[in-house]
Every structure is written in C-alpha cells, then in structure tokens.
C-alpha cells in the first residue's frame, strides 16, 4: 500500500537560518522494545511544531530524550547548530529546554507555588523565602491570566487546574524550547483558548514550541509545521496550514483510512443487563445513572479526570459508593466488593493491566483460571491441573492468544495478548457484563483492530459491554451508544456514530459554578 509521503518542506519562518533544535538519527531501545529508530525532528525559533503519531509511535520517547529524561542510544542532537549531550532533566533546563509531561508530574502535598519553583526556590539568608516564592508564582499566574491562589495545595485542585499549574511551571523556566505533551487533555474550550494565547505570545518572543496532541483541530489552529512519526520512525514533516487532515492521518497510520461505516445493531429490544441508578461518590461521581442492554457496547467518554474510571470501579465494588443502586438482569444486587460484582456476573478490565488485571509472574493458564479456582479445586483443595490446561487451551484458541504455550509467563506476552488473557479470565468466570477501561492502552496498532473485533464478537454473543476510552476515534468506532461525563456528572448520552464535536461539547459541559472559576 504505497502512500505518497511528503518529505521535509519549507514553511513560514526563516528556513534558511540555523534551526533551534535538530535531532537526527535518534535510536532508542528499551528491553525487548525498539522505541525509536532513526527518529528526527527540526524545530525553529518562533515556531509551533506539532508532533503527531498514534499511541506508541514514539513521540513522548523522543521528547523525553530531548528533555534529558531518557538518554539516546545513537544519533545527534544540535542546539543552535552545536552538538549537545543532554544527560539529565536539570541539564536540559539549563539549556533552556522545558517540558510539560503527559502524566501530571506534581507534588500533591505541596502548594501551587512550591510546585512551580521546586529545585529553584528563592532564598534569603540561605532560607526559603516563601513571600518571594508566592509573589513570583502570582506574577506567572497573572501573565497567564489565571486566577489561582499560589498557596493552595495542589491536591485540592481539579485536574484541569493542576494542568494549568504544570503549564505555569514550564513557563517559569523561561525556556527557549518548550515541549507540551498533550497539554489540553483535561482542558475545556476556554482554557484551551487561553493556552493558545500564551503559546502565541511565546512564539512571538522566539520560543520554539513542540506540541504533541491527537486533536486535529488544535493542530490546525496552533501549529506551523507538523512532523509525523509511526512505529518509532520519522515519516515526514509538512506545513500545517496547507496539508489536508486526511494526508496527516494517512501519514500516521501508513495507509488511507476509509471511513468504515459502523454497523450498529438494533439492541433496543434486548433486555437490560446492567442498570445503575443515582450513583454517588464524593465529588468524583455525582448522580450517575446508566443502562447497558445485552449485546450492546456502551462507550463512556470524557476528559481526563471526568470520573469514568471512578464509575467503573464503583460499579465493580472496588471503591465504596456513597449512594446508588445497581441492577443486574432486572434484579437489584448488593455490591460492596469486587467479589460481589463477580458473583453478579460483572467483570472489570482495568486501565493498568500490569498492576490490577494480570498476575504478571504467573503463567497464562493460572491467569485465566485465577478468578475461577474453586471450579478446579478437588478434594483437599488440590487443583486439577489437567482441567485447567484444557480450559486455558480452549480460550487460547478461541481468542487467538499468541503464546507458545499455556505455561508461558503472562509478563512475556505482548500488551494485546495480555489483554486477551484478562478477557479469558472473566469469560471463564461467566461474566456477561464486561467493563473495559482503556482496553487498547499500550497496545500496538495491529493488535488494536483485533481487540475491537473481539469486543464486537463478545457483544454479538449477547454480552453487555462498557468501554471507557480517552481516544474519541476508539469510542466512535466501537460504541453503539455513548455516555459522556464531565467532572463526575453524566452530561449526556449520544447515539453511536455521533461526531467528535458532539462528544467534546458534552465532555466540557461544566456546571455553571465551576465555569465561573475560570471566567475569573
């Protein structure tokens, strides 16, 4: 499938002068994974350069190398034409390279101001000068047009406000190169507009900004050039304004995507498998009610921190709830622990498989049998290994889990196959209601399609499925219905095949009181 790949092109700005940053031929391997192969990036002063690619394409890895978090295996980095070695975050900062990490890197027990100036606290007579610290932080907030108390503890802030603290911190470095790794993941439209104002000001001051985002409209709005990566490799660099979105997408996926029409089965007549009424938990979950029918895939969408995982965990009994009823197949069930949920036929596949879903040290067979061990217990509690093997082999075939044998340690499987092992575990336990939390996180592109197929097959067999995903294309591709959350509330339910814009509108629909905070 040959795709015309545009190579480096000139764009606005003075292409003739020395670029601010040049990364050429960068390789990076982690044990068992080749993360980058001959990756490259050129950033000019005063430009916003979007770095795009699917999950796992290597964008964050490349930027962690530029900011001194990782060291490269091979390749050259030039700063203003001079070859440099960047060995630590501190050194990167000293060179004027600042980064806003994708995962919020804040110290929850410290105040906003203390977080911003960690490592560079103003001192007086050798002692910390809290007054100056708070004044300096206030000055940055003012310049961002952000109304925030410097002395407020970070743990009391919403995710969106924490994100703003991160941005303030990056700004405080007065960096010449500023890397933003998905800075808008938790922001609403007004906040994004403010961020863009700040970015445009930095740009005018000659700062080079690397902007990582999945959101096409943002890329179009803010960036000058776009570099696309795929599978750890450089694909090409194109001007943002003149390149159609379709071209960028085909560069990202390596082929032209046809708009696959979603086949939404009519499940309206099916019996309701799971109904949640008036679920509440602190300020994380506020009066959430939803239903899933047999054979239906319900997408649960929302920004980071909207409370989707919290809802899943509360349904599953992993966290206590303040109030709310859970009905399974028309019966009210009391769920106060995961054990109760499993007995009611609910399986939860967590966001973080390694920590919660999979016993990575155990083999495939034992992982599949883990939730159903009583079934294999003979007299005296001795496990029937033969029966376990038979069942494990059945699921390995059925779900086409790629493993040399059922005695392979689960940690040695790829992400997609690990996910399948967890699915097998719940299927064996007769769970007909399955909640998938970010089912394709950390899974490569090819395996994603297989997981999608599997989810569709599970629905066709009459199981009720909830899918939580931060990736809107994934939600749109899978969901028969889409429930959208914002700040703990369910802000609406959309039919499958709705547009990204409709979802985003609901995902940023904050309560008026919350909105006022930001209006300042």
């Amino acid at each position: 499938m040959p795709t015309p790949i545009p190579t480096a092109v000139s764009s606005s700005g003075d292409a003739g002068s020395t670029p601010l940053v040049e990364m050429v031929g960068i390789d990076k391997s982690f044990p068992g994974v080749r993360a980058l192969s001959q990756a490259r990036l050129e950033l000019r002063a005063g430009e916003v350069h979007a770095l795009m690619g699917e999950n796992g394409a290597g964008k964050s890895t490349l930027m962690k190398i530029l900011s001194g978090v990782y060291s490269r295996d091979t390749g050259t980095i030039r700063l203003n034409g001079q070859p440099v070695d960047i060995v630590s975050p501190r050194q990167a900062q000293d060179m004027g390279i600042g980064i806003i990490h994708q995962e919020l890197a804040l110290m929850r027990d410290l105040t906003a101001a203390q977080n911003i100036f960690i490592g560079r606290e103003p001192r007086r007579f050798g002692l910390l000068d809290e007054g100056a610290l708070n004044r300096d932080a206030q000055a940055i907030f003012d310049s961002m047009n952000l109304r925030l108390e410097p002395t407020v503890k970070v743990e009391t802030l919403t995710i969106a406000r924490q994100q703003m603290v991160e941005i303030a911190k990056a700004l405080s470095y007065k960096s010449r190169v500023l890397i933003m790794d998905e800075p808008t993941a938790a922001l609403n439209d007004a906040e994004i507009a403010e961020l863009f104002t700040i970015i445009n000001r930095l740009k005018a001051e000659g700062v080079g900004v690397v902007y990582i985002s999945h959101k096409m409209d943002e890329i179009k709005r803010i960036s000058d050039r776009v570099t696309v990566m795929r599978d750890g490799e450089y694909v090409g660099t194109v001007p943002a304004a003149d390149t159609p979105i379709e071209t960028i997408i085909s560069m990202m996926v390596g082929r032209t995507l046809t708009n696959e029409a979603l086949d939404i089965p009519n499940t309206a007549a099916n019996p309701v498998a799971l109904e949640v009424r008036g679920l509440n938990r602190g300020r994380d979950i506020r009066d959430v009610s939803l239903t899933v029918r047999k054979g239906e895939i319900l997408g649960l969408a929302g920004l980071m921190g909207a409370g989707r995982t919290e809802v899943a965990r509360a349904i599953f009994g992993a966290d206590p709830r303040d109030s709310g009823e859970i009905w399974v197949n028309g019966q009210r069930v009391g769920i106060s622990s995961p054990k109760d949920a499993v007995r009611a036929g609910i399986g939860y596949l967590s966001e973080d498989r390694k920590h919660f879903g999979l016993a990575t040290g155990l083999d495939v067979r034992n992982n599949i049998a883990l939730a159903s061990l009583e079934r294999f217990s003979g007299p005296g509690g001795v496990l029937n290994d033969g029966a376990m093997r038979e069942v494990a082999e059945k699921y390995i075939r059925q779900l086409s889990i790629k493993t040399p044998s059922d005695t392979q340690e689960a940690r040695l499987l790829s992400g997609g196959n690990q996910q399948k092992v967890v699915i097998a575990k719940w299927l064996l336990r007769d769970c007909d209601i399955l909640i998938f939390d970010e089912p394709t996180r950390g899974i490569d592109v090819g395996a994603k399609a297989e997981i999608y197929k599997l989810l569709n097959a599970l629905a066709e067999q009459g199981r009720a499925i909830i899918v939580i995903s931060s990736e809107l294309p994934e939600i749109l591709r899978l969901s028969h219905r889409i429930a959208v959350m914002c700040e703990g509330r369910l802000t609406g339910t959309l039919p499958g095949g709705s547009s990204q814009e409709e979802i985003m509108r609901l995902a940023t629909q904050r309560e008026p009181a919350m909105e006022m905070r930001h209006a300042g």
């Binding site: 975050p89 804040l106 110290m107 960690i118 490592g119 109304r147 743990e155 905070r517």
Partner: protein
C-alpha cells in the same frame, strides 16, 4: 470569584490536616485528665518531670524517624544507631580520655556518618529503605558490641557527663520547676527540626520527595543528594539521642537499642505523620511521644502490669491510623 472558589478548599485541607494533630492532642489531654483523676500522684511536679525525662530519648529518636518518614522512607536503625553513637562517645571520653566537647561532637558526627551511609545505600544502590536500614540496624548493633567488647563503658572519669541529660539549667533560675536538661534538648531538637522542615530547601525537598519523587526528579532536582542529606540529618539527631541516653545511664550500654526504633515509629504514626510520605509534623510527633510516655507512666501509677501497657500502646497505634483513614475517607 476564584478566591471564593479556592479558599474553602484550602481551609478545608487545613482543618483536616490539623484534625489529626488535634485528635492526638485531645487524646493526650484526655489521658492526662483520666490519670490525674485516677491518682493524685500523677500530676505532681516530680512525676510530670519524670514523664518528660522519659520522653526525651524516644522523642528525639522519633524526630529523626519523622524526617525520614516524610520522604516516604523508613529508618529502622535509629535505635541501634543511638547506641552506636553512645559507644563511640564512650570510646572517645573514657578509653581515649579526650575532653567532653570532643565526645559530644564525636557522637553527632558518628550519627551523621552512619546516616550518610544509609542514605547512600538507599539513594545510590536503590536498596529499599526498609531493607537498607534493617541491615544498618543489625550492623550497628554488632559494631557496638564489638567496639565495647560487649561491656558497658562508664563515664565516671568524665565529670559532668551525666549532667547533659540529668542536670537542670532551669533549676538555677526557677528552683520550683527543675526541668531536666534532657527535656530542654528534646525541645531544642524539635524546634530545630521544625525550622529545617518549614524554612529550608532541605525541608521542602523532604516533603516533595515523599509527595512524588519522580516529579522532583523531572524538575531537575538532584534527588539522590537531598535524600542522602535527610538520612544524614536524621543520623545526627540519633547522635543527640545517643548522648542523652548515655548521660542518663552515665554509661554506654552496647546491648541496648533494638526496639527503640519501633517506639519511635509508633510516636510518629500516632502524631499523624503519614507512612506513605509527603505529610507530617514535628509537633505531632512530640505529642505522639508524650502519649506513649504518659500512658506508660499512668498505667504504672495505676499498678497495671507492664505487659498490659504494651497491649494498650499497640491498640492506640492502630486506632490512631484508623482515625486518619476515616478522616481521608470523608475528605
């Protein structure tokens, strides 16, 4: 508008953060009231001073433990390090016959050096704090016995050594309240530690490390260096405890020490410092240490068998942490 939105959240945390200390403090007051009602002897000056004196060693050790625990670490070696420092003082003063100030400096330096070693093992070799300080606990216990030849070292040749903890400078001014020097030293160490935690960069990084070590690293801070510094500071505080206990016993008892670390950690926990790091106060730890000694003293006055005292202390530790969990749940 922002201010109105942010302020309640802020004060909310302040209240809940102070809540635990308040709880510990009211617990302490309640104990004092109960024991004074139960026995007229309890509130007598002599007994109150005895309680304070009994708190001094554990209090100082608990302050050392607090520093480390706020970073999200743990130090199991505080007890045997204290003994090791006492033995070193004995060697310097009794075996070598050097003057008293040299002995004092030697104790504190020995503590600092051992803290540096623990900190380096933890920060550079990445050995988990529990294991590293468990190892150090046994190493120091053994070294104390080896150096002393398993025999106590007495300070009879160093006049005034026992006055470090047992004398009373206050008595000269206020004869009615002869507060022992050991108690003054405890309060001095507490003030100093509180100052370091709130006013210095070291204190800031202590909290920051316990809050999110990776974030501190990503901020370009030399995490290893500061972590080692915290353990070294805790070690020097153990050196002070070594002087206190040696002075009180007028001897360095090499077999002593093991078990003190658990009392110290108990005081920290009762005082509301989180074992997961990031939060904690010296004041809370002082209150925690006082609760333990008031309890021991009061139960003894009421002629409760010593075996039962440990049962009660154990229950209070669990209750204190459970109260903290309840608080978090309602946050």
């Amino acid at each position: 508008m922002t201010d109105t939105a942010a302020t309640p959240a802020k004060s909310g945390v302040r209240i809940s953060g102070a809540f635990h200390r308040l709880l510990a403090f009211s617990g302490l007051i309640a104990l004092v009231v109960v024991f004074s009602l139960a026995s007229p002897n309890f509130m007598q000056t002599q007994n109150v001073l005895a309680i304070l004196q009994a708190t001094s060693v554990n209090g100082v050790l608990a302050i050392a433990a607090t520093l480390v625990i706020i970073t999200g670490g743990i130090d199991l070696s505080v007890g045997t390090l204290m003994t090791f420092c006492a033995v070193i003082t004995g060697v310097v003063l009794t075996y070598l016959g050097l003057p008293l100030p040299v002995g004092i400096v030697a104790s504190i330096l020995a503590g600092t050096a051992c803290g540096l070693v623990s900190g380096t093992i933890i920060a550079k070799l990445k050995v988990p704090p529990f294991i590293a300080t468990l190892g150090m606990m046994l190493i120091l216990k053994g070294l104390s016995l080896v150096i002393s030849g398993t025999r106590p070292i007495y300070f009879n040749d160093t006049p005034g050594f026992d006055q470090i903890a047992r004398g009373s400078l206050v008595e000269a001014v206020l004869p009615a309240v002869p507060i022992p020097n050991g108690v003054l030293i405890l309060f001095g160490v507490a003030l100093l530690a509180a100052f370091v935690l709130s006013k210095t960069a070291l204190g800031r990084y202590t909290f920051a490390l316990g809050s999110n070590e990776e974030a501190v690293r990503l901020s370009g801070v030399n995490v290893d260096r500061w972590k080692i510094a915290v353990y070294a500071l805790a070690g020097s505080v153990c050196g002070v405890a070594g002087l206190l206990i040696a002075s009180r016993l007028n001897s360095a008892q090499p077999a002593l020490g093991q078990g003190y670390e658990l009392d110290a950690i108990a005081a920290v926990v009762i005082g509301g410092t989180s074992l997961s790091g990031g939060r904690g106060t010296v004041l809370g730890t002082l209150i925690g240490a006082l609760i333990i000694s008031v309890l021991a003293n009061g139960l003894r006055i009421l002629s409760v068998a010593q075996e039962w005292q440990t049962v009660v202390t154990g229950s209070i530790i669990i209750l204190a942490v459970y109260a903290d969990i309840l608080r978090r749940r309602t946050l």
